[in-house]
Every structure is written in C-alpha cells, then in structure tokens.
Symmetry: D2
Subunit: 349 residues, 4 copies
Amino acid sequence: MKVGIVGSTGLVGQQFIRLLSRHPYFEISELVASEESANKPYEDAVENKIRRIPEKVRKKSVSAIDDELDCRVIFSALPSKVAREAERDLVERGHIVLTNASAHRMESHVPLVIPEVNPDHIGLIEELDREDGEGFIVANPNCSVIQLAIALKPIHEKFGIKKIDVVTLQALSGAGYDGVGALEAADNVIPYIPNEEEKIKEEIPKLFGELNGGEINREKFRISSSCNRVNISDGHLENVSIELEEETSTSEVKKALEEFRGLPQDLPSSPETPIKFSEEKDRPQPRVDLGGDTPMSVHVGRLREDNILDYKFIVLGHNTIRGAAGASILNAELLYSKGLVQDQKVVSG
Amino acid sequence: MKVGIVGSTGLVGQQFIRLLSRHPYFEISELVASEESANKPYEDAVENKIRRIPEKVRKKSVSAIDDELDCRVIFSALPSKVAREAERDLVERGHIVLTNASAHRMESHVPLVIPEVNPDHIGLIEELDREDGEGFIVANPNCSVIQLAIALKPIHEKFGIKKIDVVTLQALSGAGYDGVGALEAADNVIPYIPNEEEKIKEEIPKLFGELNGGEINREKFRISSSCNRVNISDGHLENVSIELEEETSTSEVKKALEEFRGLPQDLPSSPETPIKFSEEKDRPQPRVDLGGDTPMSVHVGRLREDNILDYKFIVLGHNTIRGAAGASILNAELLYSKGLVQDQKVVSG
Amino acid sequence: MKVGIVGSTGLVGQQFIRLLSRHPYFEISELVASEESANKPYEDAVENKIRRIPEKVRKKSVSAIDDELDCRVIFSALPSKVAREAERDLVERGHIVLTNASAHRMESHVPLVIPEVNPDHIGLIEELDREDGEGFIVANPNCSVIQLAIALKPIHEKFGIKKIDVVTLQALSGAGYDGVGALEAADNVIPYIPNEEEKIKEEIPKLFGELNGGEINREKFRISSSCNRVNISDGHLENVSIELEEETSTSEVKKALEEFRGLPQDLPSSPETPIKFSEEKDRPQPRVDLGGDTPMSVHVGRLREDNILDYKFIVLGHNTIRGAAGASILNAELLYSKGLVQDQKVVSG
Amino acid sequence: MKVGIVGSTGLVGQQFIRLLSRHPYFEISELVASEESANKPYEDAVENKIRRIPEKVRKKSVSAIDDELDCRVIFSALPSKVAREAERDLVERGHIVLTNASAHRMESHVPLVIPEVNPDHIGLIEELDREDGEGFIVANPNCSVIQLAIALKPIHEKFGIKKIDVVTLQALSGAGYDGVGALEAADNVIPYIPNEEEKIKEEIPKLFGELNGGEINREKFRISSSCNRVNISDGHLENVSIELEEETSTSEVKKALEEFRGLPQDLPSSPETPIKFSEEKDRPQPRVDLGGDTPMSVHVGRLREDNILDYKFIVLGHNTIRGAAGASILNAELLYSKGLVQDQKVVSG
C-alpha cells in the first residue's frame, strides 16, 4: 500500500522515512515538503540531516502539498500551525491522515489513539458523517503522553486511577530541529516546555474516555504535570506518582505492568511487550535502555510506595519513535488490520 | 581566626578553599588530607584539579588528621564513612567542627542548621553536657535539602505546610569526583541517587522542628522525594509541590517568597536576599541563573497552582556553594557572630 | 564617555553590556536593536536571555539604528551581513565603530587590531583621508584568530614563524544563538564551521603585517587551519604546531611565552599577563581555566617538540570575552588612551 | 566454535558479548572476570551496566582466569597492566588470544593486525617457534590507530605516504568506565590522553611494515599526533593531514578511498566497504554517521588540499566496535578462515 509523508524533511518526518523504508505493508510513494523544495531530490530538500537518510529515498523527487498525491494514506509530521489547515484540506481531498501534529487531537470527530490503550476509539471514524470522497484523521497523542498512558493503562484497568502527578525530563529531539538552541541546552536544564503541561492534562482524559454514540467522554482524573527539558538527544523520562481507587500492593501493581499485553501484539511495529519492567534500582536510563531492538516498548522501573499519593515509578520512552513516528505507523497498521484504510468511501477518484 | 579544612583535596574541600581564601573573618591555617598526602604541597596532594587552586595555598604543606592542628575551627568535607569517626575524634580533641558530611546530621546532640531557616537551633550546643576541653559539631543539611528548606521557610511560616512533593534534577558535582563516570552521564539521565530521597525525608523535619529542653522535635510533614542525576556540571533544580494548612493565593505565596529575609542578612557570606524570585516563564535555569555574584541565593520561579496539592514551583541552588561549602561557612559566621567559636570551654589547651 | 552598542540583543551584544556595565571609562548611553524592538525596554527586546542582564539596563529603552545616537563611540555586535552597510553608514554619520563583525576586517583602510599584537596598526586611522565629520572603523579579528595571534606573537618576534598548522575545537557560543541546533550539538562533534578556516588564513597575515605608508602588507606565513565545533558552552581550544626560522629550544619558546607582556598592560581590560602558561600535562581545559578572574588571558600549555614542524602546543581562550566583546572594548581603551576617540574631526556636530 | 572472553565485565568486554551473542562462527562458552566475581551470574558480576546485556548470558556463571577454560580461543578485554602476565599465561596454557589490550602489541613475535590493512602479518604466527601445547597472541591496534590506518591504507598503497599529522577528538568510551569522571568531562575538553600519542606513533609503522623472515620491519613515516578527549559517548574523530611521495590530485585520492576493498570483504564482521566516503561539507559526524548498520566502516570526509602537507581530511570510526571488540573479532574470523584456530599444535589436551 502506497503512503505519503507530509512534513517529510523535519526531524519526525525523517524518522517516518527511516521506519517506513523497510515496512512490510507500506511503501513510500510521496515525500511532501514546502513549496520551495518541490521537485528537488529529497536529500537536497533536507537541511538538517541529523538522521541517516535511507539510500532508496535520497534521490526521490519531493512533492508540494497541493500536488495530486499518489496515495490514500498520509502520515503527517507537520508543525501544528501548518497542520491545522493542511490536514483538513487533505481530508477533504479524500486522504486518510495519520497525524503526529497536535492541531486536531482534541477535536470531537478525531480519534486520538494508542493501539495498546484505546484501540476501540478507532470506531469513531465509522460513526463519522463523512461526505462523499472525504477522508478522515487519526491522531496519536503527544510524545510525553503516549509513554505515560501505556504505563497507566494496566494499572487503571485493574485498580482505577484517581490522581496522576508527573514530572518529566524530556530530550532535545522532542523540540524538533529549531526548538532549542545548542547554547540554551549546553550544561543546562530548562524547567519549561511550551504547551506541554497542558497537553498532558488534556490528552490523558480523552485517551481513557469512553466512546459512546459517536462521542468520546473524558475520564475523570486529577492530573498535575511539570515539564523540564534536559540536555540529552533522545528519550523522555517521567517521574510519575498515582493515587488509586482500590487498595493493592506494590507487587500487584508490578504484576499488572509486567503482564500487560496490548491488543495489537501482532502488528508489524508492535513491541514484544508494551512495557518492559526493570528491577534494577537505577533504571531505566535513556542511553542504556532505549535504542537497540525495542524502541517501541515503554520502560518502567523504580516502582515503590509513595508518601503522598499511593505509588510512584519511572517511565521512559523513545520520544521520536514510540512517541511520534512509530505511534502514527502503529495506528496505520491498526487501521489496515481492521480494513479501514481500504475503505472505498474514502477516496473519490 | 585560624581555621582548618579536613577532606581538603576533594571537590567540596576545594570549594571551601576557594571561598575561604578571601574571607574577612577566617584564615586557612590547616589543610588536612589523607595520611599519604601529609607534608606534600597542597597542589601535589590534589589529584583532580577541577577547580582553580588559589595561588596562596598551592605550596602550603598538607597535614594529616592526627597531627596537632593549629586552629580551633575545622570545616569538614570528609566523605561520610570517614567522617563518622574522624569528626567525633576531632570533637574530643576540642575542635569545633562545621561539617558538610551526613554522618552526624541526625544525631540528637548535633544541631543541623541553615542560618536563614533555623538559626535558633544553634542554641542546642549551649545545652550540651560537654566535657572539659570537648568541642562540638554543627552540621549543614544535604545540598538538595538546603535550597528546598530555604524556599519552604517563608511559606511554612505564613501558611503552614502539610505535604511536600519534590522531584529533583541534580548536577554531577553533587556526586563528587568519582560519584558518576563520564560515560554513565553522557547523553543520559540516571533516575536514582543513593540515599538522597531518604535524606530529604529525614532532614527537612529536623530543620523545621522546635528546640525544646535540649531536644529538637520533628515537624510533621508528609514528604515524597524522587531524585534524578542529570548531565550538568553545577546546580540542583527541584520541582516542588506543596499542600498548605491555610488557604491563600499565588500572589500571597509569591509575596512571602520575595519578602523573606533571613536573620543573618549581614553575615559576610549571606546573599543579598535568600530567595531570588523569577517572573519569567522558563526560569530559573542552572547555567543562566547560578554562578556570577549570587551563588548563595536560592532561585524560585514558575510559581503556580497545582491540581493535586495546592501550589507548585521550581527551586534552583548552587549545590557546591549554597548547598555545601558555603553553607558550612555561613554556619561558622553565625557561630562567630554569636561569640560561640571564641568560647573558652571549647579548647582545653 | 558615552558609548552605544549596535546588535545589542544578541549573544555578543549581551556580553558587551555585561562588560561595559561596570567600566571605568565608558557608560552605555545607547542600546541599538532592530526596528521592531525600538522603544521597547531592553529586557523585552531580548529573546534569548542566556546571560544575566545587569539590573541597570533592563528597563533602558532600545533605539533603532537610524535614530540619532547620543554617543560618538559605537560597539558593533552586528551579524556580518547587516554590518556591511550599517557600519559604513555609522561611519558616515561620524561615529567611531569598534566592531566584532567580520564585514570590514580585510578592507585596506580598516585597522584589524589586537592591542597585545599590533597596536601600531591603529596609526592607520591617522593616515586615512577622512571627510569632514566622518568617523572610522577599528575591527578586532575573529575569536579563533585572537587567541592564536596572541600566542604566536612572542614566538614570531623572537624566532620568526614560517608555518602554522592549527586544528580548533570551538565552543557553541561562537556560533551565536541560532548557529547550531541543540540536537546537532548533543553528543556530537561537527568537523566544519562555515568560513572559519578562511578567516584564520586571511586575518593572521594582516595582523602580523607591517603598516607602511598607509598600507598594511601581509606577513608571509604558510597556514593550514581545520575547524571543529564541539559541544561545550564557552572556550575555544586550539592544537597548534609551528615551524620557525631560527633554531631554538622548548625552554626558550616557553620563556618567550611566559615573559610576553603586551604594550597595553595598564588598560582597564588588559589581563595581568596576555598569556598564562600551564605546566600541567593535561591543561589548559575550558571549564577549569576560563571564567573566573582572567577571561582576558590566553592559556597556553602542552608545549613540546613536533615531529613534522618544530613545536606544538595548546591554546585556549574565552571566545565571547577575549575573542569578541572584550577584544573590541580593549581596542576602544587603546584608542582612548591615545586620545583618538576624543578626536574633534570625528563628529561633525 | 567455543570462545571465551577475559575482562568480560568491562566496557569492551560487554561490547564483545553483545557482538558475539549473535555470531555465526563463535559461541561464548566462558565469561572470565576477577577472582571475586567467580561463580556469580554474569549480571551480578557487572557493576556498570552501560550496555544492554543480552538475555542469554545474564545468568551465565562467571569463571576465574585460573580455571580450566572450555575454549581454545580467548578474546581479551583486560586492562593493559593485568594483560601483560595474564595473556602470556593463557598462551602457555595453549590458548589463542585475540587481544585488544596494548600490553603485547609491540612485541616482535606478536602480529598486530587489521584485516583490511595487513592480513599477511598473520603469517608471523606460522613462523613462531612454539613449544608443544603453546598458543599465541594476535593483537589489534589501539582504537585511534585502527580507523586511521584503514583510511591511510589505500592512499599509501597508491601514492606513498611520507608524513602523517593527526589531531584526534576522542569519545569518553575510549577511556573505559573509570577513565574520566563525569565532572571532568562535563562542558569540557581535555587536551591530553595518557600514552595515546605514543601509541599512534609506534603502531602505525608496525602495521605498514613488511613481514620478512619472521620479523616485521617498521615503515618509515614521520608522524605527529595530538590527542584530545571530548564530551561525547562514542566515536573518535580525527583531523588528518598527509604528505605523499607521488604527486596526485584530490580526485585521485578520493577515488583511492572510495574504491578500497579489504582482503576479507566476506568475513561475517566485515563492513560492506572499509571506507565510507562523505561528500557533504560538514560530515562525517559521530552521532549521525556511527551506529546504525555500519559500525565496522570507517568514515572519511572533507578531503581537501593542505597548505603545509599535501592533503587533509576527517576520519571517524566507532571506537568500541571498529576500534576494539569488533577489531578482535574480525581478526578471529580471519584466523578461522585461514584454518589457524583449528591448528592442532595449539592445545595440548
């Protein structure tokens, strides 16, 4: 199945390319970038080649977003400001947009999905009142939200979560190329990330909400979030504490985390297990536990009782793979496995 | 007044030297290091010259701890394991020990003091049942505790604190020279610091306790602490949230922080104000706000309401100055200003 | 004497402010920034507050460059592209421009000066055929050049240098705020800095050239330069090897370096000695040897014989102080001490 | 074929394990560590788990070096001081030692081999006067030497190299776990690495020497080497300039680099091509070009004419794979392919 990438020259765009260049279902047919890059070979359109560009797309000619695109499915790595209109426009032209941008996440007709957490929310698109030839959007949450939601899922399911307190230490790649200057980052911590705390507080309740009659209600959590940018290249690490509805024990919570299996354990991009639980006292750590063969797993460790809420632990995830490009691709695989991207209503032509 | 430094070749020892080399009250008469360094010139005894060594101590001959030391007052930068016995021994020999080591902090006869927080605890030493010729110990808290306690002090005084939740991002210098390997630190976060969470939970209640009949009771707080090592050279940054006894407002809490003045604002090492409050949305930051002219101030910013507890904010302090060597020196200045280091009971000879 | 700063909101602009805010001769009367910042308070005009802003300029209103500026002497921290026209225009309006920009450095009527290296080149401005009311430009070299030239000066004077091979490891602050993205820098080395190798090859010969009849000839060196960006905040470190005309010995070269005194050792910004020579086998190092009290000294160490050329050594300097803002200010002090900024021909009005 | 690893708990030891845990020829039968680790499960014997430990060796029991080892071939990641005696002893006990340690590299009866550079030096072991049941040592060069030698090989072969000037920027992992403290490395460059400059000057001539009658002579180069430690986790980058015997052109040198194929392009650990040549003006870069699928290739870029010698360029290699564990393994594969590890003379029993 042919797929395209809009925002293909940015950091997440390059990650999409890397992951899709050897995908069993999808084949990149369109690399879309800004007007001025159109018709250039991809490698000339990319200014910041921080990731290796796979050989086979280097010379591929870049399209502009207004070109007729030879694919139904589009992955979007657009910046949010541009995404608002551009993705809406792609939908009107009949495309299915799997987006990592935040622009449409909180809209009532857009499912916000993590296959391991709320795969049923995909059902929303079947209840949409789509025009002839119209496509739809499926969004994945923000990077700091995805890994948190996966860690919370089995605990919420078993014991009910009431309160969530999270303090994040987020990598530089989460800000894209131009998000943080090298000199701001060097030997420094920045205890603020624009809009990040808000995203956590908005997206978590939607993810755990119930789909009911074409509407997704919001799960009632009390959430406190504090976000810090630290000087590492990849990997968001989160200090999480939670209050539960039911009384339980550390060993029961641990068991829930370890035994958790997502619905889609057999999709091509599914990790072996959604959660890797670490027993060691000083783990997980970004440079040690990420990368390698398991970038789609979320790492949880240091589970212990908390003096204020009930339990606390560390969550670590690869922000540009599990938290961005890989998340959209996993969503596309979920749609594909359910036959939803082959949906004939979608594309007019 | 002559003073000595034990543990003088370590990281905090070097910081003591730097700060004392231009002090108005104190003059370094003894640099004490391990047996094998004795009688060497100081600069040859120091293996890791990470800080600049002031010209005037470079050639000074190093003493061993069992030598007769030509000073009543001793600053201790010993590692905790060594400190336990060595500091006790110095006290028996009549010395007044201002220690940064954790070994004796929680002992009932040792005042644990921050001049801006609990200067009255110094009174404990006058109630001690000291033998003839015996000295005493005054300890300062752990680096992560000092800056936290200073930020909490004016809030606790005005509104009463019930719960404290703190997640720290701590600099490499807090671990000393050999605490963390370069490769462990590089491009990484370590979500664990040995004993650090415990120290916060033990020391804060003692600092805010009441001195009463020769005993210091413990203030009743519920405290949750999570400690992370980040890859920066200096400066601990803390994400703090608190629950209060009295209802108030962000602006009232801010006012309390800004107007706070410690008792000893006129000691040589006192900062202009104990707390510098930052209005900017992304501050304080270690590389920007520390160093310079105000290493003894604690920086507070991002004060805002919290969804789970009542308020939250960021605290930043210079861990080897405000959080270690500078803290001991400020304690010595407090003793000096109260005439306690001139106390004739102290030294037998 | 009143002075202004153009390009005052950038990284070097902020360094100018910090250094001039406590200067014995100069007082900042004008902070000039782009059109859209005009009339704003300085602290609102600055987007990236990486350096602390001195209290007294925070609220100062920013001017636009076309405003009438209340000062004869202007320090320029403009980006080179803007500097070309803007500085020329300021000269026509009668200003004396002390520039850190590269735009005019190689022009025949612009003295390129380091007070310790070629103070006599200042004489060029007296031979200029200036129009009534016209000012002039004095430039300082590029950051990587200044520290190199200072280290070479005493050696060239005594033994004659024929060949210079330099491999630099340059700090992030040398690229300004937006020069390098945080993600490019993280855990990385970039073995290329645009135009940097060329600047070294052009500027060194002009600095060591002779002023003769209104012209500066070029000293004949063979120069090889290779420039690398490393992930440190401040400090350029250079691996230098040289071939000499005269035969000598390591100890003689060392003696020349240690005994070197610049002409202007008594200017306010002059370092105690232009060169600090280090005997230790692993020094100088940026984080250890820079900062503190001697940011205007250049550090030289690891002097030894070379197998290919004659000698090699390490040079280290603080790139935004000794290599930029401090260099312009030292030039201004030299002009001031020679009575050249009081020159009545300069300002028309 | 069964193999063992001595020094298996260190940084390079762990890299050996990672690479050998999925090797087509070799199977790890012995993990050897210090006396006090003997009989512990491997994961408990390792203190610094900076690399991921493959599942299948985690519980494997560790042997002591004096135990009878169930394998003829031993990979050595011992520290040099320990290696001197221990490797000699292993040889006497009949083992074939593939060592990354420097202890025996320069000994006349030890071949120092890079399969792409001097595979014929392996012949030396057939000329050794070995006792019954005695083994032998094959060493690989120092990490900074291997990548340099590979880049020089095709150039020397075609045009003859007379002089080599190299300035290195070396990663923290080159120093092992305890080589550099985190605080020494943070925001810093250390312009000195113990013994590194000497190793480059000694090992390069042996690698390019001729094996003749049981002796390896030394190629006559003039070499200048300067070594710097930079704050990156993996990857040594070298600024190299060379003088040639024959006149040629940049494009001819480039052609030689690009067309170079090592003898053993078909060994399991051989890179697709020994050298990857980069055309981009700011490459190769450690975080971008290393890792991924080609850790055994050496990256060369920025080839250009030099003002002092003839040509200069950048060389980059992965120091713990291509420069250490991978190098020993490639040597073992070369021996294996030549039938030399099956040699019956070797093991007595």
